[in-house]
């Protein structure tokens, strides 16, 4: 193994290694045995550099991210599948095949992102793919797995759903009301994000990153900027780092409030929805006052943040935090004591710690199933280092546990916001970016509200994006939902689904 990247600004938590083919699976096994999760798998067309294709896997351990690189032959870019070691690899392996024609030796042969929207020989992330190509949509026949047996029937829903949620297809095999199997079909909102990145300059990329999954805009923006600042060797001012964290925690709070209300509602407790949606609305209205946008999607920019806070605004946010905390504590007691709600939450949609570990589940869902990993405490990057972040945790793995983790995290985020706002450093909120090192890998890693969000970025010599791969924790957690529903009844699916609340756009790209 040799170091593929010797950039002087490579952070201590990041390791990048290039391996020979025989070590690709070996290193995966080593990572698995050390308890790391396979966070992302992606590839890059480097034929223009005379390097064929480059495949990368990112393994997230307790305190570092290791990126393993494997060079693939230009003429026959095939690689050993990791599915035996990491079952969660399958969809990512299908995705690299769909976008680059880089093939795992045992991948599921069904198209995952492609559907029938464009022909199989159009490989959008190859540099020679015609950027102006347009194709007529075709209806598609997807081979869902059939469950045979007495009294088994199928229920198909989607891609357009009954409520205001993203599109995807769910195929249930049921006996009576009981779910035997769920198969998901995603990829409907694939809109060519990765190809789009490679048509942008480095500065513009932040706006697109923020729109990979709109509910996680701040985390993606931050991850993108972190990757870019690594390549540029930029030192982001302390105040800007703190203001970034305030934005990130407010994003987490907003999403958790929304989910807590919706989960109450799905359990037949409309009161919860009314109360939590009001709290969320107030938070958004304060955002509009302070940041000029209810959703400050572009609040984080390369080099720092877009908006400084005045002392009145700081007071306004702190005051709101206090009011919010009191309300959330009160509502939590009401949820905890409501027999009907608890009856629907407890034991429903259970994912055991063993299963969560085997599937490589990450983020909030993992924390509710016994794995207290949280990048804010594990990596403790600026400005989180001195804040003593408490990762939430439960080992129950049911809907109730995912609700409890959200409550704990709202309270913790409110504490962090207050601490940050109380102790803001003075000085600049923005630093100028120098030139980005070309053809080097920059990695941004941020604990978004669902879990770890990663951006892998490479620049061209003339300051454009060569390759940007965004990774959403939903890749890991969608397959977990297929397992968590087994043995539950169909009418509980909306509740269980909401308790994970995964991103479609973030995984469809």
């Amino acid at each position: 193994m040799n170091a593929a990247n010797s950039g002087s600004d490579m952070p201590a938590w990041l390791v990048i290694e290039r391996v020979v083919r025989s070590h690709w699976s070996l290193s995966a096994r080593g990572e698995r045995d050390a308890g790391a999760v396979l966070l992302a798998l992606w590839a890059d067309d480097r034929r223009d550099l005379g390097e064929g294709f480059l495949l990368r896997a990112a393994y997230l351990g307790a305190s570092r991210l290791r990126v393993i690189e494997l060079a693939l032959d230009e003429a026959a870019p095939a690689f050993p599948s990791l599915v035996e070691i990491y079952p969660g690899a399958v969809r990512m392996e299908c995705a690299v095949r769909d976008v680059l024609g880089v093939q795992a030796d045992s991948a599921d042969s069904r198209a995952w992102l492609r559907h029938a929207g464009w022909p199989v020989d159009y490989l959008p992330l190859r540099h020679d793919a015609d950027r102006s190509a347009r194709f007529a949509a075709q209806a598609e026949d997807y081979a869902f797995v059939r469950v045979e047996g007495d009294g088994v029937h199928e229920i198909a829903v989607g891609p357009v759903h009954a409520g205001t949620i993203e599109p995807g297809h769910f195929r249930f095999s049921v006996v009576g009301e009981k779910v035997l199997r769920l198969e998901q079909r995603l990829g409907y909102v694939h809109k060519g994000i990765e190809q789009r990145f490679s048509q942008m300059d480095l500065q513009q990329g932040q706006r697109l990153a923020a729109r990979v999954s709109g509910d996680t805009a701040v985390a993606y923006s931050w991850a993108y900027c972190m990757a870019l600042e690594q390549l540029c060797g930029t030192r982001v001012p302390a105040r800007a780092q703190q203001l970034r964290a305030v934005l990130l925690e407010r994003e987490r709070i907003a999403n958790h409030l929304g989910d807590l209300g919706a989960l109450g509602n799905d359990a037949g407790f409309g009161f919860g929805l009314t109360q939590f949606s009001l709290l969320k609305e107030r938070l958004l209205r304060a955002n509009a006052e302070v940041y000029g946008a209810r959703y400050p999607m572009d609040g984080i920019v390369p080099g720092g943040v877009a908006t400084n806070l005045s002392s009145q605004q700081i007071e306004r946010l702190r005051e709101q935090g206090m009011v919010l905390e009191a309300a959330v504590v009160e509502l939590r007691a009401i949820y905890d004591e409501h027999a009907g709600v608890q009856d629907r939450f407890v034991t429903t949609g259970r994912m055991s710690p063993e299963l969560a570990q085997r599937l490589g589940v990450v983020g909030l869902a993992a924390r509710a199933s016994g794995s207290p990993r949280d990048l804010r405490s594990d990596l403790a990057l600026a400005p989180y280092a001195g804040l003593g972040v408490q990762a939430a945790g439960s080992a129950q793995g049911d809907v109730a546990a995912r609700v409890a983790v959200r409550f704990d995290e709202v309270i913790e985020s409110l504490r962090l916001c207050d601490l940050l706002l109380q102790d803001l450093a003075g000085g600049a909120i923005h630093a100028e970016l120098g030139a980005a090192a070309a053809q080097q890998l920059g990695i941004g890693l941020v604990e978004g509200w669902r879990g770890p969000v990663m951006i892998a970025l490479e620049a061209t010599v003339d300051g454009r994006i060569r390759r940007c791969h965004p990774h959403d924790p939903s890749w890991q957690n969608w397959p977990a939902l297929e397992h968590a529903i087994i043995g539950n009844i169909v009418p509980d699916f909306p509740l269980i689904n909401k308790s994970f609340n995964l991103s479609y756009s973030g995984q469809d790209l």
């Binding site: 559907h115 929207g117 464009w118 159009y122 959008p124 793919a129 950027r131 190509a133 347009r134 194709f135 949509a137 209806a139 891609p159 357009v160 009954a162 409520g163 205001t164 949620i165 993203e166 599109p167 990829g187 409907y188 909102v189 694939h190 809109k191 060519g192 994000i193 190809q195 789009r196 697109l208 729109r211 990979v212 999954s213 709109g214 509910d215 805009a217 929304g258 009161f271 929805l273 009314t274 109360q275 949606s277 009001l278 969320k280 609305e281 107030r282 958004l284 209205r285 509009a288 209810r294 959703y295 999607m297 009160e330 007691a333 009401i334 004591e337 991103s503 479609y504 756009s505 469809d508």
Partner: protein, 170 residues
């Protein structure tokens, strides 16, 4: 139970001290009244995410909160296009959603209205057109009104719904 009642009593008719909220509520009431006036009955909406980043969905969901209270105005979201008067469509239309969107449109009974929500729905937004994106909603189905913003605020979406209803029929 007592806790719940206390909390309801305190929430009351949602009140925030700022004047801005009063303005917003009066605008909302005007919009509600106008929408009801045009249709003369409840309005049934089917939301279709045709490729959004999910940001627009957050603001469409906010329409249900007690501040925007669209149910109070007789607007409801329905589970089937067959029961819908209006389609609220977000996103650049993903190629993989093109057929599903057309089918939803065809299944909606006449007279039907379509509102494209968000910069993406209006122009294709940051995603534009590509092998995987058909761009703006009107590239795929006829659109009566467009609501810009990324994402647009709930009141802007209400205004868009109103302007679609008030638009001359195709």
């Amino acid at each position: 139970m007592l806790d719940i009642l206390k909390r309801i009593a305190r929430t009351g008719i949602v009140s925030e001290p700022q004047l801005k909220l009063a303005d917003l509520l009066s605008e909302r009431d005007t919009l509600h009244a106008e929408i009801a006036g045009i249709l003369g009955r409840a309005l049934a909406i089917r939301q279709v995410d045709a490729g959004s980043c999910n940001g627009c969905e957050l603001e469409i969901n906010a329409l249900n909160n007690p501040i925007y209270n669209i149910e109070g105005a007789g607007i409801r979201f329905v589970a089937s296009p067959r029961h819908a008067d209006l389609l609220l469509v977000t996103g650049p239309v993903a190629k993989n959603m093109e057929i599903a969107l057309k089918r939803t449109y065809d299944a909606t009974p006449e007279p039907k209205y379509v509102v494209a929500v968000g910069d993406c729905g209006c122009t294709g937004g940051i995603f534009g057109e590509s092998y995987a994106s058909c761009g703006r909603v009107s590239n795929v189905i006829p659109v009566d009104a467009e609501v810009s913003g990324c994402p647009p605020a709930p009141t802007a979406i209400l205004r868009g719904i109103l302007s679609a209803l008030a638009s001359p029929r195709r």
